[in-house]
Each structure stands twice: as C-alpha cells, then as structure tokens.
C-alpha cells in the first residue's frame, strides 16, 4: 500500500502536469509542486559546519541573507543566520534529509522535511510585480529587489519567501495552510482591470 500524494491545489503530484492556477495576458500563477525542499537548522554558529552541511546537500550554503546560491539543480537560501532552505527535486527530499542527519549525528545541524511546509508559486508576466506590491513593500531599498535575490517578508499579511528569478518572474514560497488564501488574494488583484 502507498498513499497518493496531492498538491495543495488538488491535482495529483505529477511534474508533467503544469499546475496553472490562473493565467491572463499580464500574469500567470502556477503551483510548482515539483519543487521540494529541506530545512537546515544549526544549533551552533560556525563556518566549519556550514561547509560540511553544504557538502552533504550538494550546494554551498550562503552565509549572508538575501543570497540565493545555485548549484546544478539545487538552490540554497538563508532563512536566518542559523537556518537555510535547500531546494531540490521533491523525490530527493528523503535522501537529503538522511544524508545531513547522518553527517551530524549529534544534531548540531538538523535537517527537517520541508517540501510540504511551503507551497511554491511561480508568478510570471509583466504585471507580476505590481500584483505583489498590492500586498506590501517588496523592498524599502533604493535599488529595490534585485534579480537573483531572495527575501522573506510579508505579502498580503502572510509571510512569504520571495525569490526574484528575473524581471518578470518570481518564485514565492507560502506556508501551506495559507497558500489557498494567498492564491485567492492574488487572483482578486489580477482580475481587476488596472
């Protein structure tokens, strides 16, 4: 027996099915259920363990906030000075968690399953950024939110992990229980003529 996996928006978990939630000429929102991730939490400071952890997950862990490190199919971003999200293919989650927890048997770094914690959205199109800005300041910096930058902030009263993929594309991680609300909210913004 094996339970069937379902994505947040109710389709079965098959990467071949693109999970478009809404599309319009100016913006497209889709669920990226193919993206899996794990959460690394360190019990101590120290660059030494960072390197070892990076080796275990196969991607260098960034030491500064906002940096979004890419290595082949893996991505890592710093959530806090002692925690990182490592993105991977959803099928790799179990293996990655196992590798880290075997490397750090005393749990100075702990790997937690995190693929089901966040619902990843991809928001593309010329109006994508405008839609997000209905929900909050994406950045208060003069040079704004740069491509390749990652940040955790509030959008529409919900904490979101934002990654700017390019000028017109965002990857947005939303806590799973609030993902449907977030999509409803984005759709309500997008349905209006601007």
């Amino acid at each position: 027996m094996r339970l069937e996996a379902q994505t947040v928006f109710g389709t079965s978990l098959d990467p071949a099915v693109p999970g478009a939630i809404f599309t319009s000429p100016s913006a497209t929102l889709r669920e990226r259920s193919d993206i899996g991730c794990i959460l690394l939490s360190a019990a101590i400071d120290g660059n030494g363990i960072l390197d070892a952890a990076g080796e275990a997950v196969g991607v260098e862990l960034p030491a500064t906030a906002g940096a979004y490190k890419t290595q082949e199919a893996r991505f890592a971003l710093m959530l806090s000075p002692r925690s990182w999200i490592v993105q991977c293919n959803i099928d790799e989650e179990t293996a990655l968690v196992g590798r880290v927890n075997a490397t750090f048997a005393d749990r100075t770094i702990n790997a937690s399953r995190f693929s089901d914690y966040l619902c990843w959205f991809e928001l593309c199109g010329p109006d994508g950024t405008l839609l997000l800005k209905e929900g909050g300041f994406l950045s208060l910096e003069r040079d704004g939110f740069r491509v390749g930058h990652a940040k955790r902030t509030l959008i529409a009263k919900v904490t979101a992990v934002l990654i700017r993929l390019d000028d017109q594309a965002w990857l947005i991680g939303i806590e799973r229980s609030r993902a449907r609300y977030f999509a409803d909210w984005l759709i309500s913004c997008a349905c209006l003529d601007r």
């Binding site: 806090s80 000075p81 925690s83 208060l140 940040k151 902030t153």
Partner: protein
C-alpha cells in the same frame, strides 16, 4: 511607520514585519529562587517609560527572525543605535 534596518539581514523593515519586545537589558536572574519577592516582581513588571531615548528589543519577525536592540526616541521615533545580540557593537542608522 517605523522602519528599522535589521542588523542581521541588512534589509530595511517596516513595522508590519517587526515585532516589539519591550525594554531591553532586563536580565533574568540565573537563580530566581535567590531573589526576594520584590526583586522578582520588579524584574517582572517594572519598566522605564521615558519621554526620550529608550533601549528596546525588536525582532525581524517576518524577515530573518532575529532579535536585536535599538535605541529609539519615544517622541520622534528617531533611532539612534541598532545593536546585535551576538556582537555588542552598534550600527549607526542610515536613511
């Protein structure tokens, strides 16, 4: 709108992203049992409420989750100092 540059993630954060932790430097005794009732209840409840500069704790709650200290003018909201917990140095506030 209070804006603080978080000394950990180095992003300017609005007050919606921050949470407030009251007056800073209220230290918990290592052995509370050795305190008198008065000393303990002072620790629990007695706080300064100056019209002027106050050191207080804030958390980059919707951002990097880190607690830090600032010195803020309670009338103008001007922030004169931002201090990390792990390194006791301060960052002068910009813009």
């Amino acid at each position: 709108m209070i804006v603080i540059r978080c000394p950990y993630c180095n992003e300017q954060r609005t007050e919606e992203e921050l949470s407030y932790g009251g007056e800073a430097n209220i230290v918990r005794a290592i052995e509370p049992d050795t305190l008198s009732d008065t000393e303990w209840t002072d620790y629990l409840f007695m706080r300064n409420n100056p019209k002027g500069l106050l050191q207080e704790q804030w958390c980059c709650a919707a951002g990097c989750g880190q607690w830090f200290k600032i010195e803020r003018h309670t009338v103008t909201h001007e922030i004169t100092e931002v201090i990390r917990f792990d390194q006791q140095f301060s960052c002068k506030k910009d813009s």
